[in-house]
């Protein structure tokens, strides 16, 4: 039985009628055409589907759409303010912290959530926060540098 899910995505009020068990990832990608959020595993173990829900990072592939009702969602498309990139986005560019870039939206949102909560994380804290996010190009070294750089801003 479909339900109505009302949510605010990247500052816009949206309403989607859908199966409550359908993943938030599918809703974002297929209903709202926000394809910056990626499918990587469907089991919440790679972080490619990371979005912010009320400011906290969630894995949208294992988040049922119904849970997003009345929530505020930020996807990678909504992180910049107009042409002005978020400091984490700037830092990823400055460090060249991506290869294929498929994991990048999830990496950036995870880092943004971390820095929102803890503006000056230690390397250990960065590693702990980011450990769920996989990069198969294995660009972890430059990604860590990017998060460190963003934390200094």
């Amino acid at each position: 039985m479909d339900v109505k899910v009302n949510l605010t995505v990247n500052g816009k009020k949206r309403s989607v009628t859908t199966d409550p068990k359908r993943s938030l990832l599918d809703v974002l990608r297929e209903e709202l055409n926000l394809t910056g959020t990626k499918y990587g595993c469907g089991e919440g173990r790679c972080g490619a589907c990371t979005v912010l829900m009320d400011g906290k990072r969630v894995l949208s592939c294992v988040t049922p759409a119904a849970q997003a009702n009345k929530k505020t969602i930020t996807t990678i498309e909504g992180l910049a303010r107009g042409d002005s990139l978020h400091p984490v986005q700037e830092a990823f560019l400055a460090e060249g912290a991506m290869q294929c870039g498929y994991c990048t939206p999830g990496m950036i949102l995870t880092a943004a959530a971390l820095l929102e909560k803890n503006p000056n994380p230690t390397d250990e804290e960065i590693t702990t926060a980011m450990n769920v996010n996989l990069c198969r190009c294995n660009g972890y070294t430059k990604i860590l540098n990017a998060v460190r750089r963003a934390s200094k801003k």
Partner: protein, 723 residues
């Protein structure tokens, strides 16, 4: 039928540079103009044929117009059949064109991997972009530059030698006349000139004069990656599109005996296709399509076949090894005499498990049929090869198939085959609507191909002074990449033997070079220990290849090998390894820590020196080397396909462990810029030194020699896990 075609292709691809049928490709002037959009068309020769031979080099020259197009605003569109899968081809090929045209990199717009627009530059594989496509693009751009310069000289009736080319303009200093490429391109003479073939002997810029190559040019579309604006193959949405799912057999080799589609067909807004063994469905959302597939799957009955399990993998490969027949060893001296003369002979067997590429983006395609023509957006490393596969599958001329590969979510050699493209096209044809097929992670883990497993048998003989005089090396199943020893040994016998691979296997980053280097460099360490000689000194004593010596000595120096070798404890070890493949050389020193209680090998530090000729983009090369090092940790320590009864038992990131942030060691990369030779690719070879260096470090600390990848310790005992 499709599956058979694909399976055959994968077998052929084991050598990575196998001979492929030459693809012909035609492009009409009108469609070209339409596709490139606004801009001044210099010329297009109708019916230009492109071809390639194995290794990705052009068999016949293409026209200048087929390689590049000068726009009215002075920007230049350059076309290549290479794909961007994260390894930096987009930046590097942009640099190549900019260098020879004497313009800034940001004046180049690179169109990649669209079969309606680009020449066939061969697969993006085998580290061929740097040695083959970069030179091809440079020759194309240099020919264009020369043609434009010659035209300016003719127009001004001055000597060609009196003209300078700089910043996209040609200048005659004596008369202070300047003309831009864009202005010059308006002349009809240019149209005629660009219809000429790219010159094979045009002078390209020498390394010492490089201004754009050799610099850290960023990937041109990086901003779109951090904003989420870039559309990967799995992000393509077409109007009225459906999402497709394919019914997979429950196990390898299982065949469909019966199925009842009536219930699924009665579902609203659903398309169901059954064509022999191919069963699939499409629905307005992937959630809905998954529900439909579940309904279909419940009605299917399958005939299964027996299949070897990973527990018996190595005995199975050995039992089925094709050691005779067409497998001929390469020999030097007499291996029998060498072994007979040796005062000490060692005999060891090494094993390497199947692993998977696990690209972050699983296979994906969106297919659309219009007026009997098929367009597919998909993630493959050979757009023209996928075009050919689709044309054969649907029995239509390849001109009616257009394959577009948007910059994709990695591949590592794992995306030679376009299964998702064929599947999406089949469903789209039946549905009469565009269909997207996105493989799940479990599908990718099960139905993509794997890096071959290996059993490697080694025999080595030392003389009384500890010199290596005999080397007998047989790789069963994994292939011949980097199988030859770079060490100077009088008597050698080296063989790559096929076997019966239980899993579908194919290319992977550096393919068999990792297995062969693991065995060789581990065995060299065992021989060094048997000879009582330091492993670095033992290698250098047998090594004439100056390039390998240079990286080995550089890695040892930066790591401070001599000092740290003396400081090893029962829990902290150091090891080294080196190797060569695809015209590049690598050496690594590592430090590992052993946690006996938890049975863990933790890599603390990797110090790697790498050389692949003149460095074309240092930032990108650093990323490639760092990526190879960390990817190498996965195959060395944790990655392994487990299977039984034709089923993959660990088809998820829960069961198949790839490196994560927590696994990242301290990494020191030392790039050596060797300008005496042509540039080679750098995205593969840095992976091959990691596993043996770790195995050698574990041995130094513990005295335990691990001869199987992935390497594991059993908690508490310190003994190697028995398979």
């Amino acid at each position: 039928m499709t599956q058979n075609i694909l399976a055959k292709k994968v077998e052929a691809q084991q050598s990575e540079a196998s001979d492929e049928p030459r693809c012909e490709f035609e492009l009409s002037r009108r469609s070209f103009v339409k596709l490139l959009g606004a801009g001044l068309l210099i010329t297009v020769t109708e019916g230009v044929s492109f071809g390639r031979r194995s290794g990705g080099r052009s068999r016949r020259s293409i026209t200048v117009a087929a390689r590049l197009h000068i726009n009215q605003d002075g920007t230049i569109t350059v076309m290549t059949g290479k794909v961007e899968e994260g390894q930096g081809a987009r930046a590097q090929l942009t640099q190549a064109a900019a260098e020879e045209l004497r313009v800034a990199a940001d004046q180049i717009r690179l169109v990649m991997a669209d079969t309606a627009l680009v020449p066939n530059d061969g697969r993006t594989a085998g580290s061929q972009t740097t040695p083959s496509t970069v030179p091809a693009v440079r020759r194309g751009a240099a020919t264009a530059r020369e043609l434009l310069t010659r035209l300016a000289a003719e127009q001004w009736k001055v000597d060609r030698g009196a003209l300078d080319v700089r910043d996209g303009a040609i200048t005659h200093q004596a008369t202070k006349r300047t003309v831009s490429y864009a202005d010059l391109a308006k002349s009809k003479d240019v149209a005629g000139a660009f219809a000429q073939a790219v010159s094979s002997d045009v002078t390209v810029t020498p390394v010492g004069a490089w201004k754009v190559l050799g610099t850290a040019v960023a990937r041109p579309n990086w901003r779109d990656l951090v904003t989420g604006a870039h559309r990967f193959p799995s992000d393509f949405v077409r109007p009225n599109m459906l999402y497709g799912k394919i019914l997979r057999p429950p196990s390898y080799g299982a065949t469909l005996e019966s199925i009842d589609l009536s219930k699924a067909k009665a579902m609203k807004d659903v398309v169901v296709v059954c064509d022999g063994q191919f069963v699939g469905c499409a629905a307005p959302s992937s959630f809905r399509a998954t529900q439909v597939l579940e309904v279909i799957a419940k009605t299917a009955s399958w005939k299964t076949v027996s299949h070897p399990s990973s527990k018996d993998l190595f005995s199975h490969l050995k039992k089925n090894a094709r050691l005779g027949g067409r497998s001929r060893p390469r020999s030097r001296g007499s291996i029998d005499k060498g072994l007979a003369d040796a005062s000490k002979v060692l005999e060891r067997t090494y094993e390497v498990a199947y692993i998977q590429h696990t690209p972050m983006e699983p296979r994906a395609a969106t297919a659309e049929w219009k007026d009997g023509k098929l367009t597919v957006w998909t993630g493959v490393d050979g757009p023209q090869q996928a075009q050919g596969d689709l044309a054969r599958t649907f029995q239509i001329p390849s001109e009616r198939v257009r394959v577009i590969v948007p910059d994709m979510g990695s591949g590592f050699g794992g995306k030679h085959t376009g299964e998702a493209a064929v599947e999406a096209a089949r469903l789209a044809k039946a549905a009469g609507r565009p269909v997207a097929v996105h493989w799940t992670r479990a599908e990718e883990f099960t139905w993509a191909y794997f890096r071959p497993a290996a059993v490697i048998e080694c025999k080595g003989g030392l003389d009384a002074k500890g010199a290596l005089i005999a080397w007998d090396f047989t790789n069963i199943n994994a292939g011949g990449a980097a199988i030859d020893t770079p060490y100077n040994i009088a008597n050698t016998k080296i063989l790559s033997a096929g076997s019966d691979s239980p899993l579908r296997q194919g290319a992977y980053r550096c393919l068999a070079a990792t297995a062969n280097n693991f065995a060789r460099e581990s065995f060299m360490d065992e021989l060094a220990a048997a000879a009582g000689i330091d492993p670095l000194a033992f290698r250098l004593a047998h090594l004439e290849n100056q390039r390998i010596r240079t990286v080995l000595e550089a890695a040892a120096k930066h790591f401070d090998w001599a000092t740290r070798r003396k400081k090893v404890t029962a829990d902290i070890g150091v090891g080294l390894a080196c190797g060569t493949e695809k015209s590049s050389v690598v050496a690594a020193c590592v430090e590992v820590g052993i946690d006996r209680k938890r049975g863990e090998i933790k890599v603390h530090q990797v110090c790697e020196a790498f050389e692949c000729g003149p460095i074309q983009n240092p930032a990108n090369l650093t990323s490639q080397v760092q990526g190879c090092i960390i990817m190498g940790l996965g195959g060395a320590l944790s990655e392994e396909m487990e299977f039984a009864d034709g089923k993959i038992l660990n088809a998820s990131f829960a069961g198949y462990r790839v490196p994560r942030f927590r696994d990242v060691p301290k990494i020191d990369v030392h790039l050596i810029n060797n300008t005496d030779i042509p540039s080679a690719g750098g995205g593969e070879t840095p992976i091959i030194a990691i596993a043996p260096a770790i195995a050698n470090a574990v041995f130094v600390a513990t005295g335990v020699r691990i001869r199987s990848m992935p390497m594991r310790f059993v908690p508490m005992t310190g003994e190697v896990q028995k398979r």
